[in-house]
Amino acid sequence: MEASAIIFYCIAAFILGAGILAVTTRKIFRSAIWLLFSLVGIAALYFWLQVEFIAAVQIIVYVGGIVVLIIFSIFLTQQSGKEMAKPSGKHVLFSLLAVLFGLALIYNLISEYGFAEQASRPFQVAVGEIGMQMLSTTQHGFILPFEAVSMLLLAAMVGCIVIAMKNKSGNLEAAEPPAGKLMIHSDFTSSTTEKEA
């Protein structure tokens, strides 16, 4: 067995192990950390597959963005150190059965299919090429999905702000202070405006 194969199996074991722990641990913060490890393992897998760009994007978006977001939401919604309720035995059993059957089915399909291996062709991912193709308007260009995704991101951003704002309008105390100035309470704001006037 070659060294690269050994590395692959190590990475695979790490990803799956961390993934299993992420869905089974009953401490929510640990679950997020295991998810993080699983995602980092997937980034390592991308490095192994020599798609460094995807690996870097994976780390930036998933680790730097999504997991931090998840951890923040845990900070905001969870009481420290409380364990989650244990799922009922019946629940676990049937979930496990469904998952195992699904796994068996797909594994069967994969092993039966016999992919046409096209070895020995170089696989190069030049960052410049990704950029070129992303913005090209020719037949194999990706400008349309790129724009669509940009619109989606914009919509998501607006949506997040709207969702977060809705609750705040009625609740003045929780509102963020207006930019640059600090709101203390009513008599303060009134007197500062007097002073400015």
Partner: protein, 358 residues
């Protein structure tokens, strides 16, 4: 003679001649890890001493001057003290994560060392997405801080971790945009390409005012990203005692402390590479004679000189300015740095397209 160029080649040749390739690779890995760890130790010692000396001289004091000549071994003594101290773990802490957090921070700092070019032909891993790798991996360090803050089961730690999370995530944007402006000018993410593009002058001088603005924004953003004053809200000692590492002591605290300095070194090294030409000596256009004289100074000296200059700047900030408040910190990013750097990136792109740079 002081240049590191050639040493690596000799070592590799010798290894390849002596052992078979697999073993040689393993040995090289071991050597690199060993070198990285010793570099960490040396950098930690030097930077801590430097910080204390800079602080002292700014504050009209002498600083450490008892242990060794000029206090040179003060950090060694401190390290020994920290090692001897008992590493306490709070009773209700999540012990696994509590003990893991300092190592996460440390390993991230270690991974960041990989793509940095210390001298001509002296680089551990010249990855083709160099600067993207750096900004990706550096975003991992926030996880360690969040972990420490949560696992300590201390409210000060939790507040510090939340502040630090918000801070690092938002300042990454303007740091990324500042880095992007150089990437736009160079047309490559690879560190060696970026350095090679500064053959006839550093980007700071070649790129007119927009690059200078990008440089300033980069400095501010990395100061914030490394949790240094005036952005040290995560450990603001007058507000949160010590922020996310309130509960840490002994060696685990030392790891956080060391990682902070290593991170400063790394971001300054990246800044020096992007804006000041890395190990590239000061070259000015076509002045052959001048360029030739500059080439006599070894490349490693150039690299470390530039890096330490930037580190000095960051220390200078720390000992001059008061700390910002948490909402002002986010205002600074979203109201000032981000719009300015977005506009600036547009200007840089214009310069790159029109070929206005030297």
């Amino acid at each position: 003679m002081f240049s590191l160029e050639g040493i690596t080649g000799t070592v590799q040749n010798w290894l390849l001649n002596t052992f078979n390739p697999q073993v040689a690779l393993l040995i090289e890995c071991a050597i690199v890890i060993l070198l990285a760890i010793s570099l960490f130790a040396v950098l930690g010692l030097v930077l801590v001493l430097m910080e204390r000396k800079v602080a002292a001289h700014i504050q009209i004091r002498l600083g450490p001057n008892r242990v060794g000549p000029g206090g040179m071994f003060q950090t060694v003594a401190d390290t020994v003290k920290l090692i001897m101290k008992e590493g306490l773990t709070p009773d209700l802490a999540d012990k696994f994560l509590f003990n893991l957090a300092p190592f996460v921070v440390m390993i991230v700092a270690m991974l960041l060392l990989a793509p940095i070019a210390f001298a001509k032909n002296f680089q551990i891993w010249d990855i083709n997405i160099g600067v993207l790798y750096v900004s990706a991996v550096s975003s991992l360090s926030v996880i360690g801080i969040l972990m420490a803050g949560w696992a300590s089961n201390n409210k000060y730690s939790l507040l510090g971790a939340m502040r630090s999370g918000a801070q690092i995530v938002s300042y990454e944007l303007s740091a990324g945009l500042a880095i992007l402006s150089i990437v736009v000018l160079t047309g490559s993410l690879q560190i060696s390409d970026i350095i090679a593009s500064q053959q006839d002058g550093w980007w700071l001088f070649k790129g007119h005012i927009p690059v200078i603005i990008a440089f300033v924004i980069f400095l501010i953003a990395v100061t914030a990203e490394t949790n240094r004053a005036p952005f040290d809200l995560a450990e603001a000692e007058s507000e949160l005692t010590a922020g996310f590492h309130t509960e840490y002591s002994g060696m685990k605290f030392a790891l956080f402390f060391l990682a902070e300095y290593i991170n400063i070194f790394i971001v300054c090294a990246i800044g020096a590479t992007l804006f000041l030409g890395g190990w590239m000596p000061l070259h000015i256009g076509n002045w052959e004679g001048f360029n030739h004289v500059m080439d006599y100074i070894p490349s490693s000296v150039w690299f470390f000189g530039k890096t330490f200059f930037l580190i000095f700047l960051i220390m200078w900030f720390r000992w001059t300015f008061p700390r910002l408040r948490v909402d002002q910190l986010l205002n600074l990013e979203w109201k000032y740095l981000l719009p300015i750097s977005l506009f600036n990136l547009l200007l840089v792109t214009l310069i790159a397209i029109l070929g206005w740079h030297f």
